[in-house]
Amino acid sequence: MENILEVNNLTKHFSGFSLNKISFSLPKGYIMGFIGPNGAGKSTTLKLLLNLLKKDGGEIKIFGLDSVRDQLAIKNRIGFVFDESFYYENLSIDEIIRVISPHYQRWDAQAFKRWMKTFQIHTRQKINEMSKGMKLKLSLAIALSHHAELLIMDEPTAGLDPIVRRDLLDILTGLLQDENMGIFFSTHIVSDLEKIADYITLINQGNIIFSENKDQVLEEFKLVKGEKELLTSAVRAFFIGIRENHFGFEGLLRNPGLLPPELKEHILVERPTLEEIMLYTVKGEDHA
C-alpha cells in the first residue's frame, strides 16, 4: 500500500520537552486518529508536518515528497483545519477568500460556493459573528475547495455539539469514498470521530506508544477486573496500568493469553474503549 503520509524518526527538542524519534505512516485511502493527553506532542507533530516548525532530525514524507524541500508542492495538495480560527476576525468570508484563494494553484470557486450552500453559510458574514461549528465548516470548505488530497485536522471536534460532530463524520466518510484521499486528525478527547478511524496512533510524553490498525488494538487490549488478593507482584508485571479501590482492581493489558491459567477463573475480562486504553497507558507510564 502506498503511504500518503510517512514520518520516520522525527525529532524535535525544546527545553523541557522532546519529540523522541517518532515514526508512523498512513496509507492512501484511510483515516488516522492521533490521540494523546494534553502536552503529549500532538501539536508539535502537526506543526512539523506542515513545516511551521524546524525539525531537529528525522524525515516527513507527504505524497512521497519531502516536507521541507517540496513544501510548496505539498501545501497545494493538503488542507488543514485547526481548532483555533486563524482568519482575521473582522473580515467577511468573501474578503477572506479574496485574500487566500490566489495562493492555491487549484482553487475552485464553484466548489467553494457549493460547500457554503451545503453548510448554509452566508459569505457576507464576518468571522467574529460565526459559531465554532460554522468556523470549522468554513475551514473545511476552504480545505476542500482546493481539492486537497490529504486533510490534516487539529482537534476538529473540540467544543462542537453532537449535531455538528455528526455532520463532520458524514463529510469525512463522504470524502473517503475517494481511495486516493487521506485524513489525519489529532484529538485529546476520545469522541465519536474514532468510530470511523482506520488507524490509531497514541502519543505520550513525546513517544509513540503504538500506531496500529484500530480494530486490532481494540481486540488485543483487555480490561481485567478482579479481587485485590490476586495481584501478586508476578501478576502485576503483566499489566500496563492498574487502578485499585476497596473492592478490587481493574487493569489494562495486552495479550491476556499470557496470564497464568489458574488466574483466569477468578477474573473478568472485558473489551476496553479507546479512552480506557489511553487512560491506563498514560497513567501506567506515570507511576512506572
Partner: protein
Amino acid sequence: MKIVISNSSSDPIYQQIFNQIQEAIFQGELKEGEALPSIRNLAKDLQISVITTKRAYDDLEHERYIETVPGKGSFIAVQNKELMREKHLRILEDQLTEGIHTAKLLRLNLDELQNMLTLLYEED
C-alpha cells in the same frame, strides 16, 4: 439488505456484519449474483472504519459467501448447496447443544426434552 450495528454487543463490528450478511444469504434475502454495497459505501452508511468493513468482506470471501471482482465490486457467490447444508447443520448442532445445556441445568431428562421437542416441532 439491512445491517444493524450494536455498540453494546460483545461481538466485534466486523463479526456483526459477517453474521448478518451470512444470515441474509441463509434466509434467501440475498440471492446469488446480487451486488453488495462497496466497502467504502458501507463504511460511510454505518459510520464505521473502512478497515472494519474490509475485514468483514474479506472473511465473507474467504468463506466463499461472496466474490469480489476488481473494479466491479462484491457479489453474492454461487452457493454450493452441499456446503450450505453442511454449514446449516453445524449451526443447528450448536443451537441444540445449547438447548441441551439449559435442559441439564433444569434437570430435565432426555425423555422430557424429546417430548418438548416433538411438541414444539409439530406446533410450528
